[in-house]
Symmetry: C2
């Protein structure tokens, strides 16, 4: 019998950041697909859209008027899922019906006044401005006594529930630490207590040693497909230096962060020659007033496309009821991403 091979045989992989397992079925990548086809985003958008509620100078649904901004623009979400003034309270019935009031803040971050751009089409200095806004938002929201966690993220593409193509992200900041960062805190704490080192720093060392899952690097940052990636082309963006949050990044590190975001998202667009959809976001220390030496800032990219601009991975039945599952291996995904050019396809085919 053949010996066990991660590239060929079904197996499970462990995610040390969450403590959970993932099913990998490499042999299944070639099954035929007769299901839903996505509409690839090849829209030509104008630089300014008078009907867009994020373009400079436009009036939003609630009557507020956007300033004539030229860089980034941040405002309170007009339809925030969290509000600062929600009444406090709890519900508890028989130990099984348990609820508690939650408060927080929702913010919208416009990356650029240009309606027709996305991160891979922006310049590194312009992306650097977005990194600075992340740091400002984390600092000001995180300093509030009623905010113990700040979630910064971007949904890109209609298939990822994004309702406006204008380049923008969001911040949801709240009183409690939500599930995933709470799990990552527990896992990083346990590792730090046992080894006196950052879990992700040790992990990065292993990956730099093996090289097979590395996508790209610069002086201060590394992008890789994590060993436990669930989404087909999922990546993890890691600073080489252990920092707990984005405010601690130096000037040079912020430039480098912008550089890897640009180069990664260009490779993503080039993969299927489409505006590549994803959800992405920062994971950082809770702002709960505790020291978090165990925390290592990182950024996750969760992109759904699997085989082409029109065929995605569905996290459904088995995945919703049992376990995340993937077909192509993380090593194969990293290799595909590594082989792509860092010039955007729109610039080479224009």
């Amino acid at each position: 019998m053949a010996s066990f091979d991660l590239a060929q045989h079904p197996h499970r992989r462990f995610n040390p950041l969450t403590g959970e397992w993932l099913l990998v079925s490499p042999h299944r990548a070639l099954r035929p697909w007769q299901g839903q086809q996505e509409a690839p985003d090849r829209s030509q958008r104008p630089a300014y859209d008078p009907t867009c509620y994020l373009c400079a100078g436009n009036t939003r649904a609630n009557g507020a008027v956007n300033p004539a901004y030229t860089g980034t623009f941040v405002f309170d979400n007009d339809f925030a899922a969290l509000t600062p003034d929600a009444p406090a309270g709890t519900v508890e019935v028989g130990g099984l019906l348990r609820a508690e009031a939650e408060s927080g803040v929702g913010r919208v971050i416009c990356f650029s006044p240009r309606h027709d751009l996305t991160l891979p089409e922006m310049s590194t200095p312009d992306i650097r401005r977005v990194v600075d806004v992340w740091a400002e938002e984390f600092a000001s929201l995180g300093a509030r006594p009623d905010i113990n966690y700040v979630q910064i993220f971007e949904n890109k593409g209609a298939v990822m529930g994004c309702s406006n193509p204008h380049p923008h992200g969001q911040v949801w900041a709240q009183r409690t630490v939500p599930g995933d960062p709470a799990k990552e805190t527990v896992q990083q704490q346990a590792y730090f207590q046992q080894h006196g080192r950052s879990l992700l720093a040790d992990y990065l060392e292993l990956e730099l040693n093996e090289q097979v899952r590395i996508v790209l690097e610069n002086e201060h940052f590394v992008v890789l497909v994590p060993f436990w990636a669930a989404w087909p082309f999922e990546t993890l963006v890691l600073p080489r230096r252990v920092v707990q949050d984005v405010t601690q990044l130096t000037d040079a590190e912020r430039d480098n962060f912008a550089d890897v975001i640009r180069r990664l998202t260009i490779r993503y667009d080039n993969l299927f020659q489409t505006s590549f959809p994803y959800s992405a976001g920062l994971h950082q220390r809770p702002t709960d007033g505790q020291q978090h030496p165990e925390w290592h800032l990182h950024m996750h990219f969760f992109p759904p496309l699997l085989r082409s601009a029109t065929v995605r991975k569905f996290m459904v039945g088995y995945e919703l009821l049992a376990n995340p599952q993937r077909d192509i291996t993380p090593e194969y995904a990293a290799q595909r991403l590594r082989e792509l050019p860092e010039v955007h396809y729109k610039q080479t085919t224009a």
Copy 2:
């Protein structure tokens, strides 16, 4: 200030089956939606499709020929994510790269030879035959020493990754217990040890007492929107008697199971007058040779539609990085489902 009200104010709810929290933002239900629209499934399908690989008498991609079946038909998945003969082995590098071989079996269950039907359009006796197949598959797969968990599920609708509209479900059975059933085992065990009773039996009692989240009932089964539902119209199907798996259901209980599945899925179709997409599946005891007195068989329905046949809930950015989140309350969802008729709209509008 107004006092805390689950129907109005943002809050978190606890899921005692998984030990995890969910964010509820009831005030957000009315935000405008300018994002992706789904294509509602109003297709008229023929009773027999010569190109369908699940229709009776047809040849499948691998050359196998389906029998001229008249009820249900079960076969080994031609593109199974799990295979019984996978070589064993493990990988471990620095405690952080951890993988182990996984083996198992994938099966496909055709619910009916009729290509044009779905569960809500089938008769109760025909659905009862599907329940019997679930019991047979659980019994035969669960008895194997190399299978410790049997996941039975259905993906319905293209939006839920279903690649063939012919009414069918799947079984993925494997050596290890996957994440979600493992969590439910831990939670049910802890409750059972503390109270000497089934968590879900006690929960059901609370719900029958409050009534607000009950959707429908019969002698042996109750369907409700769980207090901690994450998907907009998520439901939980519960037998009143504590059984660990579907093989333990009596004849009358199986009939009642088929009855509630039929009535629930008719209400789902009637909600937005469309073939309502969902992922659904059974959660049952692990088949690991242990006694599982804590386990209470149940069925989850996870449907994505939120406001209409074309507007779904996206579990993206915040949900993928932080925590599941919902807008409409479970109580409102239950009320909507309760108010619907149990005659299928195609029969009343035909």
